[in-house]
């Protein structure tokens, strides 16, 4: 069984990435003196209890040609936030949908979504389709296009 100290060490090691070799978990197992199966089971448990979101890749969307992204914000009455949040979150072109607090009088919007596209017009087309198909104009969507990315660090993952 992997103890808490080993778990922490393994998580720290994994936060730097999975070893790129035929048996990545066996390589970790050797480094920490545990069995390959124990590492795999530990990760399975972490997936099951949702501390681990997934195992896979994070891409740089600019390098893939997705050079345009807009944070689209919506002003939804409190009693409809759950329905509209679920609805927006289920749209195929919406990559994120969060509820955040309004900051009146500065900021009336309480649902935040992200839409990525290869150019500005594509993002606007996706948005228009979502709005018209679902009759969402009443929630005053505002598209905040990004013009510059100044900083992106790994702080948003684990560590």
């Amino acid at each position: 069984m992997i103890d808490a100290y080993q778990q922490k060490q393994i998580l720290n090691r994994l936060s730097k990435g999975l070893p790129l070799c035929e048996h990545p978990y066996a390589e970790l197992a050797i480094d920490y003196g545990v069995d390959e199966a124990e590492i795999i089971n530990f990760l399975k448990r972490s997936l099951a209890n949702h501390t681990l979101k997934r195992i896979g890749a994070v891409v740089n969307h600019h390098k893939l040609g997705y050079s345009s992204n807009a944070m689209v914000v919506w002003n939804v009455p409190d009693n409809r936030v759950d329905d509209i949040g679920e609805l927006l979150g289920s749209q195929s072109k919406v990559t994120l949908c969060y509820q955040r607090p309004r900051k009146l009088p500065d900021w009336p919007y309480n649902l935040f979504t992200m839409i990525h596209g290869k150019c500005r017009q594509q993002v606007l087309d996706y948005l228009e389709l979502i709005v018209t198909q679902n009759n969402l104009q009443q929630f005053q969507p505002q598209a905040l296009f990004s013009t510059k990315q100044y900083k992106q660090t790994g702080a948003s993952y684990y560590g």
Partner: protein
């Protein structure tokens, strides 16, 4: 028209740095790279030989997949590869914050905001609330202090909007 405007905003910005230009360069991809990128934005099978499993799925070999993945990491197309943890389940406190920065002060304020180690992402967006950044701190107290400190040092109006509920997150960008 809109496209031309977007292009100009990348080219003409007086505040562009070499780093942000590099971040935005489009990379040409071959067929194997495309398949691998599409596949790995989903889940890597949690098995002893995961790269063999992926290779079988996309019609390649284990060695080719490992080599290609290393190249994509080296080129910065893939920025992270491996287990991705849910930060909100761990220790730590996060929030999306925004500042209303006068156009003439963007460069100066960017420097101040980015000098805080707690600032994880920082994007300029087209809105009167034009600077959007994520704060990542060890607890709520430090986060509030950091936000207040940023307001004090920049003398800008700010909003602090922590996540209240997550409806969906799942970035998938097919290539």
């Amino acid at each position: 028209m809109a496209n031309a405007k977007e292009k100009d905003s990348h080219v003409n910005s007086a505040f562009s740095s070499r780093k942000s230009k590099l971040l935005q360069q489009i990379v040409e991809l071959d067929d194997l790279e495309r398949s691998l990128i599409n596949e790995l934005q989903g889940d890597l099978p949690l098995v002893e030989k995961p790269f063999l499993a992926v290779a079988d799925k996309i019609g390649s070999t284990e060695q080719e997949v490992i080599k290609c993945l290393q190249q994509l990491l080296d080129k910065g197309v893939i920025t992270r590869f491996g287990p991705l943890f849910d930060i909100s389940k761990g220790s730590g406190c996060f929030s999306l914050c925004a500042l209303k920065v006068p156009e003439s002060r963007i460069s100066e304020v960017t420097e101040v905001v980015n000098s805080f180690t707690q600032v994880a992402h920082n994007y300029l967006r087209e809105n009167e609330w034009n600077m959007w950044f994520v704060l990542a701190c060890e607890d709520q107290k430090v986060l509030t202090e950091t936000f207040d400190n940023i307001l004090l040092q920049t003398q800008c109006r700010g909003i602090n909007c922590p996540k209240e509920k997550e409806f969906f997150i799942g970035l998938y960008l097919p290539v």
